[in-house]
């Protein structure tokens, strides 16, 4: 404690310089990491999954209260509208029964025609159910963490769906967790078909709730209300998964409202069509 003042000030200067050096080298390190991350190296991916795997059990516990509250609120809301809903459901049920008859007839017909043509059957999907435990990135990124990983057969490139339609695709699969890039993320590009004509386009996310259609053919006549399904091009997804509906279609842009809403994601299904082998590191899968 009884050092001469010169030494103290020298010590102070040293401390100041050390801190400054630490700051500058850390800033340099962040830029280096940005470059490494940009190159999509395996190390970064492994690090991401290691961290996710470690934190997922904690997030799982943390997500519990919110899920319970949300369930409770939904229950209350449903209780209020139970009568109308019942009437509505009865009506829908009757309509669906008619459709079922139609579908069965068509399925039979389809089977017979397929048998006639000797077409190869599409591979059946294996589905893995998982819970969404982290909705990360806020306005900057649109991805979620789910509680299924490599141990459950989840692999990079697989399609993730809910009852409503396509939610996104697996971009990283750890051991017990996986990251799902939602179709609304700015990095998401999904080959789709639009409307009854089935015009090909790419559905491009932009971090807002409504992605846009790009690379749409010049002659394609799309209109608001057109249904969008996956095209299966580039082997990214099985064809025909429902994606969304066109809400704005003018000369400048075509905006899509996805069937799956990010904030309602609670449970998802990961579909394994055995397609991942060819696309794991190709177009559209990042």
């Amino acid at each position: 404690m009884k050092q001469p003042t010169g030494q103290i000030s020298r010590l102070g200067t040293f401390k100041y310089l050390a801190q400054r050096f630490a700051f500058l080298s850390l800033i340099g390190l962040t830029f280096a990491l940005m470059l490494i991350g940009k190159a999509d190296t395996v190390i970064v991916e492994r690090a991401r999954m290691a961290v996710s795997d470690a934190v997922t059990p904690i997030l799982r516990v943390m997500a519990e209260p919110a899920a319970t509250i949300s369930q409770f609120v939904t229950n209350l809301q449903e209780l209020g509208a139970i009568r109308e809903q019942n009437a509505g459901l009865r009506e829908t049920n009757a309509r669906l029964l008619e459709w079922q008859a139609v579908a069965q007839k068509l399925e039979n017909e389809n089977r017979q025609l397929r048998a006639l043509l000797e077409t190869v059957n599409e591979p059946a999907a294996r589905a893995v159910s998982a819970r969404v435990v982290a909705d990360s990135g806020g306005a900057f990124a649109q991805s979620v963490l789910i509680t299924a990983g490599g141990r459950d057969g989840v692999a990079k490139g697989q399609a993730v769906v809910t009852g409503e339609g396509l939610a996104g695709r697996v971009t990283q699969a750890g051991f017990r967790s996986a990251r799902v890039l939602l179709i609304t993320d700015i990095n998401s590009r999904i080959p789709v078909r639009v409307g009854e004509a089935g015009d090909r386009a790419i559905l491009a996310g932009n971090n807002s709730a409504r992605p846009r259609l790009i690379y749409l053919g010049v002659k394609s006549a799309i209109a608001p209300g057109d249904r969008i399904v996956t095209s299966g091009d580039a082997g990214a997804f099985p064809p025909g998964l429902p994606v969304g509906r066109v809400v704005v279609a003018d000369e400048a842009s075509a905006v899509v409202e996805p069937f799956v809403a990010r904030d309602r994601l609670q449970y998802v299904e990961v579909l394994d069509f055995g397609l991942t082998g060819i696309l794991a590191d190709t177009v559209g899968v990042k």
């Binding site: 630490a22 800033i27 899920a67 909705d135 990360s136 996310g205």
Partner: protein
């Protein structure tokens, strides 16, 4: 104070050390809280930047306990967990901290309202910085401003709540510097 410090038992030393990692620990908790899905329609889109609030707060009140190294660690952890481009979050937090550290005289013994107002400016810079670097690094280009601005406003709105919680923790648990 030094007299007591010299006679500390190992347990007391451990306790003091445990208390000193409180700012870091609380920041991580707040970060995880930000990741938890709320299932409230429209909310996930505008999740506030929790770690920014935390880093700013500790940079003003306990710069000794949460320095550049830990801020970097928190930023990297967040980038890894949120799937954001690696390094961008860390850069934002580091620069936020740097600004506050360099304005220590300004922040010294200021009222809550003034630090909050300063946060309005600092957070604006931080969001803009993050937006710029994510736009540069991400393949998809720049994120539209709409939701980002909402997220910024919400971040400003939650500042008093987090600051209140942290100051409670600080006065209740932390050892004086």
């Amino acid at each position: 104070m030094t007299g007591i410090a010299q006679r500390r038992t190992p347990w007391q030393k451990f306790e003091a050390r445990a208390r000193n990692i409180l700012p870091f620990g609380l920041t991580v908790v707040v970060m995880l809280f930000g990741l938890t899905p709320t299932y409230v329609p429209g909310l996930s889109q505008i999740t506030p930047l929790y770690t920014l609030v935390a880093i700013y707060f500790w940079a003003i009140y306990r710069p000794d306990l949460l320095g550049y190294g830990l801020a970097f660690a928190i930023g990297i952890l967040e980038d890894l967990l949120t799937g954001a481009p690696l390094g961008v979050g860390a850069l934002t937090l580091l620069l936020t901290q740097w600004v506050v550290f360099n304005q220590q005289k300004f922040f010294h013994a200021k009222t809550f309202a003034i630090t909050w107002f300063a946060f309005v400016l600092v957070a604006f810079g931080a969001v803009l910085l993050k937006w710029f670097f994510i736009g540069v690094v991400a393949d998809g280009g720049f994120t539209p401003f709409g939701d980002l601005f909402a997220a910024y406003l919400i971040t400003l709105a939650i500042y008093p709540i987090i600051a209140w919680l942290f100051s409670k923790a600080q006065t209740g648990l932390l050892v004086e510097p």
